[in-house]
């Protein structure tokens, strides 16, 4: 008999009659029938299906409601959930019956994906080498605590950067989540909570220029708001500008379709012919980055045709306000010796300057240049008119690569329809001058009397996170602590590399795939590799997790309690539907563990439900009016609409604007130093034919969304890959550009500029404008899984910041993904 003495092998041995008599060892199962039941009885049939209502909190402004059916403790079906048709107060709200999309329908596959990270791991090789060692949560939390503490001692408290992002838009976890609470209590710095400047803060900055005074502390450093999606049912003209709602925001697309059925006209501005473009009455493939010029062309048309709302301009905007001819700021009564308290100056019907407070608002002069004392001052509207005068249909057409007829058609649609609702996509924010484009859109809408009215406005997304319904200050900085130091993602990258404004030596990413989704990827990876310590919480091995020192397994939305109120104005309680799989934990639980080790556990000693009650101030008479009267059963038994002043919600319905003047400031005084007081078009910082770089890199590089994933989530799910080119990325290129480069359909091409390279298959298509190429973002470039042949679209993009945005602290830096030039060449062999 061979003596086999092997430790592991022995662990499996039955070693004699006595042991065998003890019976089988059950670790995963337990016997629910009594001992000796003998032959198995008839089937213990599964309990009837349980149904849970939840919100889909992933990084999508659809903010859908899901009904999740559970059988035997496992989710088996996702369906669209119903919505309350009343508000919290009981007021009748609206009928809301949106569709959900294939991403929502694939969530069970996502929760049970073989790509799930099941346990905590520690890196054992070089960063990015893919070598890991499994560790326990105890060890992970202790290590994080010890490392963070040591780094903070050596480099200062702010040298640890906590970076929760938009992977989840829910309250406890993600973009307004528990990571910020941790950052506050340990004195760390933390990424932006909103306006999320990985490409989405340019248009919010522009929104503030015109509608909010960002220097007023009451405005918290900047606001952002929008019309509730269903409000587009009230529009007579809908303009979808630089977005692809039919593929990216299915609930809102339902509204657009319904609005069209009611007779609304649809204009789509996009250099690509997408399913959204296909539904348009007028599709305008304007040159990417020329959007402000097109808007200026429409503004000029409205002014020259006198097709603007005079009464609205007089009542609600700075149109009649005089501008100081030298300083270019709005003129003050004290500057021209008018009596009374200091005020702005307008000109009455009699041609004489008056303080705004003393003037009859119905008869102020809108246009004109007037002698006021020793100077000759124009009204703000006159300055606008003068600046816009060059945007004739022909000049606008030349700038935008459209025809004069197209410009005129668009303009006459604006002139003859009211209300006009504009949905300004993040596609506009992905440009260096996206702030200016938003400023121009708001100017245009002001002319038409379309701000603060049903069916009007300029909306990127609505409701959600910028709501006063949540006591975010209290959630983020518990009693006795100071709120974290804000350090934006782009600024953090520099801080990691240069140590300015202070060194960042450690980071913890949650619901954030910074190393793939942030622009200028080569720079980002270099920055992360330079860190002393990097923690990543994720439910897959993202490109960011690949670089971590410690990876923590996170949960999907089915496995944790949370609340979603994003983009629409409903409160969607998210119950924990199944237990976290394997050893995954919610960010709340993960942060709690680390906090306990760091000695700040007392700030994390409540349940998820308790935090929700606190943040909403349930039962508190001082609760925000939006959620006044909310009961816990109301919250958990349906999806009630918030108590918004109007339903659908319309920002500034009362026409009270939190600006310095109290009016819509399409003349933006604070932008005089940036030569941007009015919305005169500026060429993109990189992707412009006027850029000398253009001769080397003549193609504009877009990296848009696809309907088959949500940023980098769901990218590897089998059924979604099956209908998305097998999960293989490709470059959309017009045949004209392809032929000029000897590129045929299916060839491998190299896409490159001075910042980086990617290789991908070429797909020739007429649906993209010549001079523009597009590679869908969100595919993976990780150690184990690659959806592009080599590299990723963000290898090509940049982090050039627009200093103008600094006037709005919350939206001060922006990644201009689309403002990007590349060259494409065929890879031989």
């Amino acid at each position: 008999m061979v003596e086999i003495r092997r430790r592991h092998f022995l662990g499996g041995m039955a070693v004699g009659a006595g042991v065998i008599a003890a019976g089988p060892r059950l670790r995963f199962l337990f016997a629910s029938e009594p001992e000796g039941a003998g032959v198995a009885a008839a089937a213990t049939t599964s309990a009837p299906r349980q149904v849970f209502r939840t919100g889909h909190s992933n990084n999508c402004d659809g903010a859908c409601g899901h009904l999740v059916e559970v059988e035997n403790g496992h989710p088996v079906m996702v369906k669209a959930a119903p919505w309350e048709d009343t508000a919290i107060s009981g007021a009748i709200a609206q009928k809301f019956n949106p569709r959900i999309c294939i991403r929502g329908l694939s969530q069970i596959q996502n929760t049970y994906s073989p790509d799930r990270v099941k346990y905590p791991y520690r890196r054992v090789g070089e960063r990015g080498s893919g070598k890991w060692e499994r560790i326990s949560w105890e060890e992970a939390a202790s290590t994080i605590s010890q490392k963070f503490g040591a780094i903070q001692d050596k480099y200062g408290k702010r040298s640890v950067w906590i970076a929760p992002y938009t992977g989840s838009l829910s309250l406890l976890e993600g973009v307004v989540g528990v990571g910020f609470r941790l950052a506050s209590v340990i004195g760390a710095s933390a990424g932006d909570f909103e306006g999320d400047n990985q490409g989405d803060s340019a248009t919010p900055a522009g929104w503030n220029y015109v509608l909010v005074d960002p220097t007023n502390p009451d405005n918290g450093g900047g606001l952002f708001d929008g019309h509730e999606g269903t409000d587009f049912l009230n529009s007579n003209l809908i303009v979808l500008w630089a977005n692809n709602v039919a593929e990216t925001s299915i609930p809102d697309w339902r509204t657009i379709v319904d609005a069209k059925k009611k007779g609304a006209k649809l204009v789509v501005v996009d250099p690509r012919f997408t399913p959204t473009s296909a539904a348009a009455d007028l599709w305008l493939p304007a040159r990417p980055g020329s959007d402000t010029a097109l808007i200026d062309g429409v503004i000029n048309y409205l002014i020259t045709h006198k097709a603007y709302d005079e009464a609205y301009l007089r009542a609600y905007t700075v149109a009649p306000y005089l501008v100081h001819p030298q300083t270019k700021k709005l003129l003050r009564t004290t500057e021209i010796g008018l009596p009374g308290k200091d005020d702005y100056v307008v000109v009455g019907a009699d041609g004489k300057p008056q303080a705004v407070g003393a003037a009859d608002p119905k008869s102020t002069q809108l246009l004109g240049t007037f002698n006021v004392g020793a100077m000759s001052a124009s009204t703000a509207f006159q300055v606008l008119a003068d600046t816009m005068a060059k945007y004739t249909p022909e000049h606008t057409a030349a700038l935008t690569d459209l025809t004069a007829e197209q410009v005129n058609t668009l303009a006459s649609l604006f002139a003859s329809n009211h209300p006009v609702g504009i949905r300004a996509g993040f596609g506009l924010s992905h440009w260096y001058h996206g702030d200016l484009t938003m400023q121009a859109l708001l100017t245009l809408q002001a002319l038409g009397g379309n701000i603060g009215v049903h069916g009007g406005g300029v909306t990127t997304f609505a409701g959600g996170l910028t709501t006063t319904a949540f006591d975010l200050p209290g959630w983020w900085a518990p009693e006795g602590t100071t709120s974290f130091t804000v350090l934006e993602p782009m600024e953090a990258c520099d801080a990691m590399l240069d140590g300015k404004p202070y060194p960042v030596r450690a980071a913890w990413f949650m619901v954030d795939n910074y190393a793939q989704q942030m622009s200028d990827r080569n720079k980002v990876v270099k920055a992360l590799k330079s860190l002393d310590f990097l923690v990543v919480s994720d439910y897959v091995m993202s490109a960011t997790a690949d670089l971590a020192d410690i990876v923590l397994p996170a949960c999907t939305y089915l496995e944790k309690t949370d609340l979603l109120s994003s983009n629409n104005f409903y409160l969607q309680y998210m119950p924990k539907i199944i237990d976290p799989l394997w050893e995954s934990k919610s960010d709340l639980d993960a942060v709690t563990l680390v906090a306990q080790k760091m000695g700040v556990g007392q700030y994390f000693d409540k349940t998820a439900d308790d935090y929700l009650k606190e943040i909403l101030h349930i039962g508190d008479p001082e609760a925000d009016s939006n959620v006044a009267g909310l009961t816990w059963s109301q919250l958990t038994e349906g999806a009630p609409h918030r108590n918004t002043p109007t339903i659908p919600y319309v920002p500034f319905f009362d026409k009270s604007f939190p600006t310095k003047t109290g009016k819509i400031e399409f003349y933006v005084e604070m932008l005089v130093p940036f030569d941007q007081a009015v919305c005169d078009h500026k060429e993109p910082i990189e992707a412009s034919p006027t850029n000398p770089l253009f001769s080397k890199y003549p193609l504009v590089f877009l990296s848009t969304h696809t309907r088959f994933r949500t940023h980098s989530q769901y990218s590897n799910l089998p059924w979604l890959k099956e209908i998305n080119n097998g999960g293989q990325g490709f470059l959309e290129i017009n045949p004209k550009d392809a032929n000029a480069r000897g590129v045929s359909d299916g060839d491998v091409v190299r896409v490159y500029n001075d910042r980086g390279v990617m290789k991908v298959y070429a797909r020739l298509t007429e649906s993209i404008k010549p001079g523009v190429v597009n590679c869908y973002q969100g595919g993976w470039d990780t150690v184990k899984i690659k959806h592009y042949i080599e590299g990723h679209p963000n290898n090509l993009t940049h982090q050039i910041a627009n200093p103008t945005q600094a006037v709005v602290p919350n939206f001060r830096s922006n990644a201009a993904y689309f403002d990007c030039l590349v060259q494409v060449e065929r890879v031989k062999g």
Binding site: I4, A14, F30, A31, S32, G38, A40, W132, R134
Partner: protein
């Protein structure tokens, strides 16, 4: 020395033990663990060989397996092949192997998982509240099989577990393990397991024929 009546259920349990996760702390109080800690090697190894003989499998395969257990890197290899982080070459879940082009296009918690859960219920078994694994994991299926074989608790279920499930997917899974594995333990185990299951299938058929 050879236990003469080495029970069949214990052979199924060996399979569960050999495939289980080296990272896990075995359940305290298990007599099998107790015995291994006391290093009663002779009866243990003899028992394994006896099991092989009972099932009609070449005992040399057992010896090959045993020889490989002390080669370093076994835990790391288990992690790399079966656990993570992220996607692994040989996910040990039946659902992943039951469609075309497994496991690249396979899905977890597919219909196989529901089917085995129903079988477990028929045998009076339920997943524990925090099981830590999915119902169609190889170790869970073999654990259920062990239960059904012991004291004749569920011969029909045992038969179904083997013929409709384990015998169908485990050979494919083991072929992939043999290709992907670098450690001799998993190469040996992947070669041994299909024979083991085959032998169990014959045994269960023979019992069914006699009952």
């Amino acid at each position: 020395m050879l236990p003469e009546t080495f029970p069949i259920w214990a052979t199924a349990q060996l399979l569960a033990e050999w495939w289980s996760d080296p990272f896990d702390e075995p359940a305290a109080g298990s007599p099998l663990v107790q015995a291994s800690r006391e290093q009663r090697s002779d009866p243990a190894s003899a028992a394994a060989v006896a099991a092989a003989v009972r099932l009609g499998i070449d005992p040399e395969k057992i010896i090959a397996l045993a020889m490989a257990t002390d080669t370093p890197g076994l835990a790391d290899e288990h992690e790399r092949l079966f656990v993570g982080p992220g996607r692994v070459p040989c996910p040990p879940y039946e659902s992943m192997w039951m469609d075309d082009a497994p496991p690249e296009r396979g899905i977890m918690m597919g219909s196989a998982a529901g089917a085995v859960l129903n079988l477990y219920h028929r045998a009076g078994l339920t997943m524990r509240p925090h099981p830590g694994e999915l119902p169609d994991h190889l170790v869970v299926e073999t654990e259920a099989l062990t239960w059904c074989l012991e004291r004749n608790r569920g011969p029909a279920v045992a038969h179904a577990l083997i013929t409709e499930h384990l015998a169908r997917w485990v050979p494919r899974f083991c072929a992939a393990v043999q290709t992907a594995a670098r450690h001799p333990y998993y190469q040996a185990l992947a070669e041994l397991t299909p024979c083991w299951i085959d032998a169990l299938a014959h045994h269960v058929d023979a019992r069914a024929a006699h009952s």
